[in-house]
């Protein structure tokens, strides 16, 4: 579909956000993914989240690895620089980019192969370093571009299109991320835009590592009746744990949610997360209960979605490393080069 160019004109009366930008200003090139791919819904949710958050797109860096999911960074935010790197290595590229300039918003998009197999090491270390980024996994349990092999997030006993059963336990990226110290861990379903958009907004506002594991069905290779990552399975087994509003210093838009307990968290950047828990069984700010909650539902074959864990104590890599408040890529010669006199003093030390 690459030959279809998006028209450059748009309707003059399109709604605009506080920056005077329309949703069109947050779009990318036309997707080349299969019609009905869950990933396109995630791209749409990212566009919506950025539009609503009123982030200037050029202050976002989109970084990805290799695979269907990683291709999507081209399908949103045309005004942002994008980096489609090598397979499984998006976290290191994002880490370097973030060290160079901590003031941009880093949006990483990856897949289950890219994250849970070839990239598991880099994923784990980006989490434990508390890299300030939103890491979205478009999780379909399969390798699409190479035509349908099982991935490491594919559930044990789940079958592929040809009826072959997966013999290995799956890796739960959300549990792993909580274990490794991620500050914000959420799961969602690409078909639930109402849940996904605020999750992305909250993740982008969070100062630290934010994982959003989005179950995103592969319509071509993993959407059959014996798959646990199909649209039908998700609709039948999605246990929504909470709904949230994310408000960035603007009047709250009240949401019409089912009654439950509410948790308010003020984020580092001043925005408010208002989390409506739909179950009284767990506390998402407690890592132990978040983990046991995940495990319990997993045993039942239920996919829990929503904010699974939230650490109100926001810390990122720059805080830990004590690096300059000014972005390193903005510093000039006077701040960086010690000069000839300092070198003369240094020479004396080596005499």
């Amino acid at each position: 579909m690459t030959h279809i160019a998006k028209p450059k004109f748009s309707h003059p009366n399109l709604p605009k956000n506080g920056l005077g930008l329309t949703r069109r200003n947050y779009e990318g090139v036309v997707s080349t993914l299969c019609a009905g791919c869950g990933h396109d819904s995630v791209s749409a949710a990212i566009i919506e989240a950025c539009y609503e958050l009123e982030i200037p797109a050029h202050k976002i860096a989109k970084i990805s690895g290799i695979g269907c999911s990683s291709k999507t960074t081209n399908y949103f935010l045309n005004r942002a620089h994008g980096f489609n790197s090598v397979h499984g290595r998006m976290p290191s590229v994002a880490t370097g980019a973030n060290l160079a300039n901590g003031e941009l918003t880093y949006l990483g998009v990856s897949g289950d192969g890219d994250t849970a197999s070839i990239g598991l090491g880099q994923f784990s270390h980006a989490v434990r370093r508390r890299l300030n980024m939103v890491y979205i996994v478009e999780n379909n349990g399969t390798y699409g571009l190479t035509k349908g092999q099982f991935s490491a997030t594919n559930d044990k006993r789940s079958k592929n299109r040809k009826g072959v059963e997966n013999q290995f336990d799956s890796i739960d990226l959300c549990s792993l991320a909580i274990e490794l110290g991620a500050g914000f861990v959420a799961r969602s379903f690409s078909g639930d835009k109402a849940q996904l958009v605020p999750l992305i907004k909250a993740g982008m506002s969070y100062h630290g590592f934010a994982l959003i594991d989005v179950i995103s069905p592969c319509v071509t290779f993993n959407n059959h009746t014996s798959s646990t990552k199909s649209y039908d399975y998700l609709r039948a087994h999605n246990q929504v744990m909470d709904r949230l509003d994310i408000v960035a210093s603007r009047p709250e838009i009240s949401a019409d949610y089912e009654p439950g307990t509410a948790i308010d968290v003020t984020l580092h950047d001043g925005s408010q997360i208002n989390l409506h828990k739909l179950s009284s069984e767990y506390d998402p700010t407690d890592a132990d209960t978040a983990l046991s909650n995940l495990n319990r539902y997993k045993r039942q074959g239920t996919v829990v979605t929503g904010v699974l864990y939230l650490d109100p104590d926001e810390v990122d890599l720059h805080d830990v490393m004590n690096s300059s408040k000014q972005p390193l890529n903005s510093l000039g010669q006077s701040e960086l080069c010690p000069g000839a006199d300092a070198l003369e003093a240094l020479n004396a030390q080596y005499r």
Binding site: H58, N84, V86, G96, N322, S323, S324, E335, L336, R351
Partner: protein, 613 residues
Amino acid sequence: MQIDKTFNDFVLKFGNINGSGSASANLLCAKALFRMGLPVTPKNIFPSNIQGMPTWYEIRVSEAGFQARRDGIDVMVAMNPQTYRQDVECVVPGGTLIYDSTMKRNFGRDDIDVLGIPISKLCADNWSDPRQRQLFKNVVYLGALARLIDIDNEILETLIAEQFRSKPKLVKPNIEALEIGREYSRENFPNRLKVRARKSTRTRGKIMISGNEAAALGAIYAEATVASWYPITPSTSVAEAFERYAKRFRTDEDGKLRAAIIQAEDELSAVGMAIGANWNGARAFTATSGPGISLMSEFIGLAYFSEIPLVLFNIQRGGPSTGMPTRTQQSDVLSCAYASHGDTKHVLLFPVDPGECFTFGADAFDLAERLQTPVFVMSDLDIGMNDWVIDEFTWDDERRADRGKVLDAVALEQVADFGRYRDVDGDGIAYRTIPGTHEERGAYFTRGTSHTETGGYTEDGTIHAKNLDRIARKHETAATLLPKPLIRDLSAKSKLGIINFGSTDSAVREALILLAREGHGLNHMRIRSFPFGEEIEAFAARHDYLFVVEQNRDAQMRHLLVAETDISARKLLPILNYDGMPLTAAFVHDAVLNLFAEYEDIAEACATPITAA
């Protein structure tokens, strides 16, 4: 012993057990000789081990300024009974062996002087703490040796005071230990040794520093801000020195660091971070060794093809595989020149010593950004981890970092149709933008997949080939910007030349002098960079035969010359050393003479009067 060898021309060797604290005493000895004005060449020959294995430290003193390692030990301090046999063997006839005679031993050589000092006993008598008894052994032998070869006492004591500046309590016992050794030697060996040190002025304007520290300093001066690395011998001290200098020179008013030094989880991540940071407009580097280069290769190809500046310090060690991690080699020439799959080619710089580690280290960042491509600084263990006597560092405060072709917001306003990979100037180098620069213009998509001039995905073969051709053109541009080879026409009419690069230079220069004394005049070219400039072919054209000296088995530089120039392979005769030890002049000299014997016409080509040496 010849008279001219008596003063300021000898080799000391220390045989120790690693982890016993000998390193600082041995360095002290080298530093004291250096402060006496003597050019010294210390070589640390250490095991890949933490404690208990044999380790050696050699110091060549040469007032004439020869800096290569030299075989034939004049004074051996043998502190490791495990290696007595080989340590005794390496002493030249008429030389001296000093050992710990607490356990007496007959070494079976009557052509050398054996001086036994009951070092363990002296330490046991003077200290009760086992750790001190162990550590001060090293200082006791240093005290004895210093007296025997006339190392200036005041200089030694000053150095001890400097060494323990932060722990002043340790100064006194160290000086006492020194005196215990000195005292014992005075009482028991009234005659000093035949080899002696005598103050000189040969190190005026010189410093003594390792290549890894110098490379890190180059990165500091070049305004590098991000260092991502994974520990690997012998490159680790590059990152550690960078951190040390950064804390010293780059701490801001808030106590925060104007640099980010990050120990990655592996080399893949280390290079990925450096690429991410460079992409985002910071100057970033990684430091590694051969195994790390292998792991980084996929990412290096990405940086090459998506044209991201990148600086890699490769401190080469003995390969293949894990090889000899603590020995030196020049065996990554080919793996770096063509690192990664597909058609790739990279810029290599070959520093000769810590001085060039500093200058090339700084230049590498300018070149990487000018050319938008990976640049390798090809140091090695010998340069990187040993201390070398070099000219003092200098820096021109007028120098400005060359950030290459980067469009800022103002420039973007004037560019009608920005294309990240469009060759506007015809030198193969396109303009890049840094994320976050302009709200509407200049964003592009960086990818390792084949791309159009604007960064779009393409499977169009014509566009792909055109893009590859442009990148090749960029490397032609590179050849004009890189450090040129250093050519010395020592024997203007000679049809013989010697080609080398990197740390082999001191051995080659000394060998050329030895050969000249024997009537063989050769010219000399030291290659300093790749892709090769036209000077290299021109030098080859003037000569019938060229000896190519390198420290690897497969003659990798010779391969590169054959592949990348029109020089006939028949002209290039390899001289190869790959035992992991720093090269000696004797090795090069003997290899040249062997080739003379093998090819009759070489001797003819050489039979020209020598005009210089």
